[in-house]
C-alpha cells in the first residue's frame, strides 16, 4: 500500500461537522487595539524587540529626499537598491542605483502592502514587481507604507483569493539570542529597519 493510502487510511478522512472550524475563528482572543491605529503601530515599531525607526512623509514623491537624509545620518553613500515596483515610482536620480541585488547590499527600498498595529508588523507579498530576496539581504531595510494601509490585527493581513508564492510579515529587525541568550541585532537579515509612513498631503 502506498504511504499516502496507509496514513490516510489510519487517520480516516471524514469531514468535521459543518461550522466547527469556523467557530474556532469567532471572537479571536487577541490584544485589544484601541484608539488610533497609526499611533499603536508606531509604538509597537519602536519597542526594543522591534528596534525600528520611522518618519512620516506626505507622498511617495517625498521618499527620495527622506531616504537621502536617512542615509546621510547613518554615514552611508547615496546608493540604494530599488526594485522595479510601480508603487515606488519617484525621482531616484540622486542615487547610485544597484541594478541587481548584491550579497552585501547596504540599503534596500521596498513597499509594504499593509502594516499591523497589534504587532508593528509590515506585510509583503511576492509578485512580478516585488522580489523577496532583497528584503532579507540588505543591511538597512527602508520600507514605504501608506498610512491608510495600517490595519488592527494579524487576522486582517490575509490576502483573499489565490495566494502569491510568498506572503510574509516582517516585525522589526533580524535578531538572534542563540549565544547565551543575549539579544543581537542583524543576525542574517537587516540590522536596521526604517519605515516611511506615507500620508495623504
Amino acid at each position: 500500500m502506498s504511504a499516502r493510502a496507509d496514513i490516510l487510511g489510519k487517520l480516516g478522512t471524514a469531514a468535521p461537522p459543518p461550522g466547527t472550524a469556523e467557530a474556532l475563528l469567532a471572537d479571536p482572543v487577541r490584544p485589544a487595539v484601541a484608539g488610533d491605529r497609526v499611533a499603536t503601530f508606531l509604538t509597537a515599531l519602536a519597542l526594543p524587540a522591534s528596534g525600528a525607526t520611522h518618519e512620516r512623509i506626505g507622498s511617495v514623491a517625498e521618499a527620495p529626499a527622506a531616504v537621502a537624509r536617512y542615509l546621510a545620518e547613518h554615514a552611508l553613500p547615496p546608493a540604494v537598491f530599488v526594485p522595479d515596483d510601480p508603487r515606488l515610482a519617484a525621482d531616484w536620480s540622486g542615487f547610485a542605483l544597484s541594478l541587481a541585488i548584491t550579497p552585501d547590499e547596504p540599503a534596500v527600498i521596498a513597499w509594504a502592502r499593509l502594516g499591523i498595529a497589534e504587532t508593528g508588523s509590515l506585510v509583503f507579498e511576492t509578485g512580478p514587481h516585488a522580489p523577496m530576496l532583497p528584503n532579507f539581504l540588505g543591511l538597512h531595510h527602508i520600507v514605504l507604507l501608506p498610512e491608510t494601509a495600517i490595519v488592527a490585527h494579524l487576522e486582517d493581513a490575509a490576502l483573499p483569493g489565490p495566494q502569491p508564492r510568498a506572503h510574509y510579515w516582517v516585525t522589526g529587525v533580524s535578531g538572534t539570542t542563540d549565544i547565551e541568550g543575549q539579544y543581537i541585532r542583524g543576525a542574517h537579515g537587516p540590522r536596521f529597519l526604517h519605515v516611511l509612513v506615507v500620508g495623504e498631503r
Binding site: R4, K10, A21, P31, F136, R165, S174, A187, H188
Partner: protein, 463 residues
C-alpha cells in the same frame, strides 16, 4: 535507571560549565516569557482556544491532510507522504539527487533532526549548510541540538568563540557576542546564496491555501529558501491548521511562550514554487508530510501531545532540564515534551528512564501554551513501563526512588510537603537536600517548589 541514562545524567551534573550555559539562556527566556504573558491579559483564554484549535485538527487530521494536499498541488507544489523517518529521508535524498544537488542550505527544523536528515545527507555525499546561528554552532562542534528553540544553549560564548576561530575564514577579532554573530553572518551568507536546494521544516501547514508557514527571528529561513532552485519542506502531519486565521491565534502564543516577543521577526507563508513572472524563488517546491508514529500516538492515548507547537517553554521551566541540559535525555526532543515524545518515537524499552526523570511539579503544564497535560502523560508512561515489567525489581537511590515515591500519591504528597517545609526553614529559594532525591542533590541544588504544590491544587480540582 539504565546504565546509559545514569551515565549521561552523572556526566551532565558533574559539568559545571553546562549548568552555567543552560541557566544563562533558560533564565533569560523564563523572564522574558513572564513579561509577555503579563502584558497579554487574555493569555489564559488564548491558551484554551489554542488547545481547542489543535484538538479539532488532530481529531480530523486525515481530512485536513487531503485538503492541504489538494490546495498545495494546485499551487504547483509536489506533495509526498512518508510513514517513517527512513521513508522521509529517502524522499528528500531522491529529490536532491534528481536536482543534481551538491549542497543544501538547511533552515533549523526539529523534524529534520527527528528523521536523521543531517546523517542521511552526509551518507549521500551532499554538503549541508546549517543557516540558523545555533545550528551552525553545533554543526561546527559536531553535536546534536540540546534545546528545540536554542539548539546551542549548552555552549558558552567562550566555546563558540573558539569554534568560530577554528572554522571561519575571517573570524571575529573582538571577544564579544555581537562580533561573533557578525563573523557567522559573513561566513554563512555565501553558503546560503550558493546552495542548490533549501530545506526547511514547517511551523504550520495551512489546509485551505496549501501554504507552509515558517517563523524565524534571524531571517535565515528566507535567505535559505529563496535563492536555491528547489525548496523541500519536511513537516509532521500534526502541523496542520484549517486556515491562516487559526494559525495566527497559535502564532501569538508561540512567540510569547518561546522568546517573549509578540510575534517572531519573520513569519512567512510559502505557497508553491516561483510564479512565471516572479523575479525570485525556487523552480520547484516539494512538501514531505511525515507520520513517524503520530497516527499511532493519536490512538494510544497521546493525542494531546500532538497539540505541541514546539515553543520550548516546558523545558525552560523544568527543574530537571535546568540541571542536566538537553543532551542527557538522549533523544531528539529534550525536557518534559521530550520525555513524553521519545518513548513514542524510540520505544519505551529504550527510553523508560525519561518519564522517571521528573519531579511531577506540574510547572511544564502550567506554562504550556496549548495546555498539554504533560505530568499526566508522563505518569501514563510510568504506569505502562511498570505494567510491561520494564522496571527493575529493586529500585535504587536517586531519581528511581523519587519516581517510585511519585507512583504512590500519598508518599509523594508527603515528600513534596516535606520539601516545602524544609525550604521555608531555610528561608531561601533553593534547597540543598530533598528527601529521596539524594542522587540529584549530591551534585546540584534543586529549586524549591512553589509554596503550594501542584498536587495540592490538583487534588482540589484547580488544574
Amino acid at each position: 535507571m539504565s546504565a546509559a541514562f545514569s551515565k549521561r545524567v552523572d556526566a551532565a551534573l558533574a559539568d559545571p560549565i553546562l549548568k552555567i550555559a543552560v541557566e544563562r539562556t533558560a533564565g533569560t527566556a523564563e523572564a522574558k516569557r513572564a513579561i509577555a504573558v503579563d502584558a497579554f491579559a487574555q493569555f489564559e483564554a488564548a491558551r484554551t482556544r489554542a488547545a481547542a484549535i489543535k484538538d479539532h485538527v488532530v481529531a480530523h487530521l486525515g481530512y485536513y491532510l487531503e485538503q492541504f494536499e489538494t490546495a498545495a498541488t494546485s499551487a504547483g507544489a509536489h506533495v509526498h507522504y512518508a510513514r517513517t523517518a527512513d521513508e522521509a529521508c529517502k524522499i528528500v535524498i531522491d529529490i536532491c539527487k534528481a536536482a543534481g544537488a551538491r549542497t543544501v542550505a538547511r533552515s533549523k527544523s526539529m523534524m529534520g533532526e527527528e528523521i536523521g536528515l543531517p546523517h542521511a545527507l552526509a551518507e549521500a555525499g551532499i554538503g549541508r549548510v546549517e543557516t540558523d546561528l545555533a545550528e551552525h554552532i553545533i554543526q561546527l562542534a559536531d553535536e546534536r541540538p540540546s534545546h528545540i528553540v536554542w539548539p546551542a544553549m549548552h555552549k558558552t560564548s567562550e566555546q563558540v568563540s573558539a569554534l568560530f576561530k577554528q572554522h571561519h575564514a575571517l573570524p571575529h577579532s573582538e571577544e564579544t557576542i555581537p562580533a561573533m554573530a557578525e563573523s557567522a553572518r559573513r561566513h554563512l551568507r555565501q553558503g546560503m546564496l550558493g546552495a542548490d536546494v533549501g530545506i526547511s521544516g514547517a511551523n504550520f501547514l495551512v489546509a485551505d491555501s496549501g501554504a507552509v508557514c515558517t517563523v524565524t527571528n534571524e531571517g535565515n529561513a528566507e535567505l535559505s529558501l529563496v535563492p536555491p532552485r528547489v525548496h523541500i519542506v519536511t513537516a509532521g502531519i500534526e502541523k496542520l491548521v484549517p486556515s491562516m486565521g487559526h494559525a495566527v491565534q497559535l502564532l501569538r502564543l508561540l512567540a510569547r511562550s518561546a522568546t517573549g516577543a509578540t510575534l517572531t521577526q519573520y513569519t512567512t507563508f510559502y505557497t508553491g514554487p516561483k510564479r512565471a513572472a516572479d523575479p525570485d524563488g525556487p523552480d520547484a517546491m516539494h512538501i514531505v508530510l511525515i507520520d513517524n508514529g503520530r497516527s499511532a500516538m493519536r490512538e494510544d492515548g497521546l493525542a494531546e501531545m500532538l497539540r505541541c507547537i514546539r515553543c520550548g517553554a516546558c523545558m525552560n521551566h523544568c527543574v530537571v532540564f535546568r540541571q542536566i541540559g538537553g543532551h542527557a535525555y538522549g533523544g531528539t526532543y529534550p525536557g518534559p515534551m521530550g520525555a513524553v515524545l521519545t518513548p513514542a518515537l524510540d520505544g519505551l524499552a529504550a527510553s523508560r528512564d525519561l518519564p522517571n526523570a521528573c519531579t511531577l511539579n506540574g510547572k511544564c503544564q502550567e506554562v504550556c501554551p496549548v495546555k498539554i497535560p504533560l505530568p499526566t502523560l508522563l505518569r501514563g508512561w510510568r504506569e505502562k513501563s511498570w505494567r510491561e515489567g520494564l522496571e527493575p525489581a529493586t529500585m535504587r537511590q536517586g531519581i528511581a526512588a523519587w519516581a517510585w515515591v511519585a507512583q504512590r500519591p500519598r508518599l509523594y504528597r508527603l515528600a513534596v510537603r516535606a520539601a516545602i517545609f524544609g525550604m521555608r526553614r531555610f528561608g531561601r529559594g533553593w534547597i540543598r537536600t530533598l528527601p529521596l532525591a539524594s542522587g540529584w542533590t549530591a551534585h546540584r541544588d534543586l529549586p524549591a517548589p512553589d509554596s503550594e504544590s501542584f498536587m495540592n491544587r490538583y487534588a482540589r480540582g484547580e488544574r
